[in-house]
């Protein structure tokens, strides 16, 4: 029989340390739903999603019950809608967003991602139409998430898209100003977007993927923090890294088990486990608190980037052996409004945007869930996107930007989204004007892959 200590450890991880499966995401290809008539295409999209995903929520609920492990989100990701839009003879494609919303409501998932475009090198007509429609699509739906990939290490950065996305983010916030600008919280701009990411808002089902797959995102910052809190303060950094690796291994094994089980019960191939440490606003579920447990006074102080680099690397090393296929974003997330420790650090002024930017160079995502003043010009937002994309492009990693312009609010005011999206203070942004640089447009050339220094 199993060791009593091991059994109690697992139960304590789930009961006291917020261990959970953050998401089971079903990726569905919509390439066979393409039609020149948008109504016909929408009907095919709705039918296919409902046909494939009608069992997703009941099966996840049953797994949750049998294994005693909470599965917080059940989600769907689909082929970037811009690809379907390219075939349609209409420029108003918001209907696709409404169809996705209807399908999400029918099958009962928490979010549906894939209202997306991949424009790292250039635009098709569908890409233009999609980007133009994003603010309206996000304002008129609750479950639809949107993402746009504007750069990659191989293609460079599409600066025309960067310019458009600054405006799109601002407009998405303006159209939902009465709901704490939530539209912008469902929109993410990527560089090197992964095609199998199960996490929102950036999930979409890449064209290289199978017709339908199950991807799973694990969580567990609370478990890592609790493990570190039992470690002696005099333990050296190697011991810290080893402990995080061991803990990440255990968390990921559970993700792998759920992924395998969901895939076999739904008769859908298993895609990947995303080894991410995803925080929630709940107390004891914070990535910032892990960094503080390592010995920082508060997240954002000097040493934060090094501590985060260690955490990110150890999570991957521990997780890789625990799963047969690893993918997605895989690493530590630092979404400010979704992390109790980051919210506190931002409120106290210890965590600033420039430090967050440095942190994104060593962790798995980017500037995520950051509230900025509502009067920030669109060019400044575009320039933040360009900076972040440059970090991703040069370092061959995924970076992303999810900023929420808090319309009508100033630095220090608060936005509250509720649920997993949390809430937090509006942070200061450097307002020196990058207007001429952003308005140039064109393409920022891809970096050399040799002479790396």
């Amino acid at each position: 029989m199993l060791n009593t200590k091991d059994i109690l450890e697992t139960i304590s991880m789930i009961q006291d340390e917020n261990l959970d499966i953050r998401t089971v995401t079903m990726g569905i290809s919509l390439l066979d739903c393409i039609d020149s008539d948008i109504d016909a295409a929408c009907n095919k999209v709705y039918d296919k999603i409902v046909r494939y995903a009608h069992n997703l929520v009941p099966v996840c609920n049953q797994i949750e019950k049998e294994y005693g492990i909470p599965i917080i989100n059940k989600r769907i990701s689909v082929t970037p809608i811009a690809m379907l839009a390219s075939a349609c003879q209409t420029s108003n494609i918001v209907k696709f967003a409404h169809t996705l919303e209807k399908a999400a409501m029918t099958v009962g998932v928490n979010f549906i991602g894939g209202y997306s475009a991949l424009v790292q090198k250039g635009f098709s007509n569908g890409d233009y139409a999609l980007i133009e429609s994003i603010p309206e699509a996000l304002a008129t739906t609750d479950h639809v998430c949107s993402s746009v990939n504007i750069g990659s290490t191989k293609a460079g950065i599409n600066m025309d898209a960067v310019k458009m996305m600054g405006k799109a983010i601002k407009k998405a916030a303006e159209l939902t100003a009465d709901r704490d600008c939530i539209g912008a919280a469902k929109l993410v701009v990527f560089c090197n977007a992964p095609e199998d990411n199960p996490f929102m808002a950036g999930a979409f089902h890449g064209v290289g993927e199978a017709d339908c797959v199950i991807n799973v995102g694990v969580s567990g910052p609370g478990v890592v923090r609790a493990a570190l809190s039992k470690l002696d303060k005099s333990a050296n950094i190697t011991e810290v890294a080893d402990l995080i690796k061991r803990t990440a291994f255990k968390i990921t094994r559970m993700g792998q088990l759920v992924a395998k089980e969901a895939s076999s019960r739904l008769c859908v191939p298993f895609g990947i486990v995303d080894l991410s440490l995803a925080p929630t606003p709940a107390i004891g579920d914070s990535v910032a608190h892990i960094l503080e447990e390592m010995g920082l006074e508060q997240c954002g102080c000097c040493g934060t980037t090094a501590a985060l680099a260690l955490l990110n690397d150890a999570v991957k090393k521990g997780g890789v052996m625990a799963s047969s296929h690893v993918g997605g974003l895989s690493g530590a997330f630092i979404p400010v409004t979704e992390d109790a420790g980051m919210i506190d650090a931002a409120r106290s002024g210890c965590l600033i945007l420039e430090k967050l930017e440095a942190m994104t160079a060593v962790c798995s995502v980017g500037l995520d869930m950051i509230n900025i003043p509502g009067d920030t010009p669109a060019e400044v937002i575009s320039a933040i996107i360009a900076d972040e994309a440059a970090i991703g492009m040069v370092n061959s990693k995924t970076t992303a930007v999810r900023l929420i312009p808090a319309i009508g609010k100033k630095i220090g005011d608060e936005l509250s989204f509720g649920g997993l999206l949390g809430g937090g203070p509006v942070m200061r942004v450097n307002t020196g004007s990058p207007e001429i640089f952003i308005n140039r447009g064109g393409r920022l050339p891809a970096p050399l892959q040799s002479l790396k220094n």
Binding site: M1, L2, T4, D6, T10, I11, Q62, G68, K250
Partner: protein
Amino acid sequence: MRAILTVVGKDTVGIMAKIASLCSTHNVNIVDINQTVMQDLFCMIMLCDIDKIKTDFNSFSDAAAELGEKDNLSIHVMHEDIFNSMHKI
């Protein structure tokens, strides 16, 4: 399928009897039991075979949780594989 049933709470008379009776009512076979009392905290881990369960897994698990709430105990029934996958390579 085998499940692990864990009971943690204040030690009182009759905990074992109640759990055993619950298992018997649902036709759940007890395969192995490991039990300790740490100070006055009762801590029991039971390996059960639930292949011949009379009802479904959910109602057994709900009945166990309900029994726990009534007697101020924390009772969980979980599939054995979650512990195996986490602690065995």
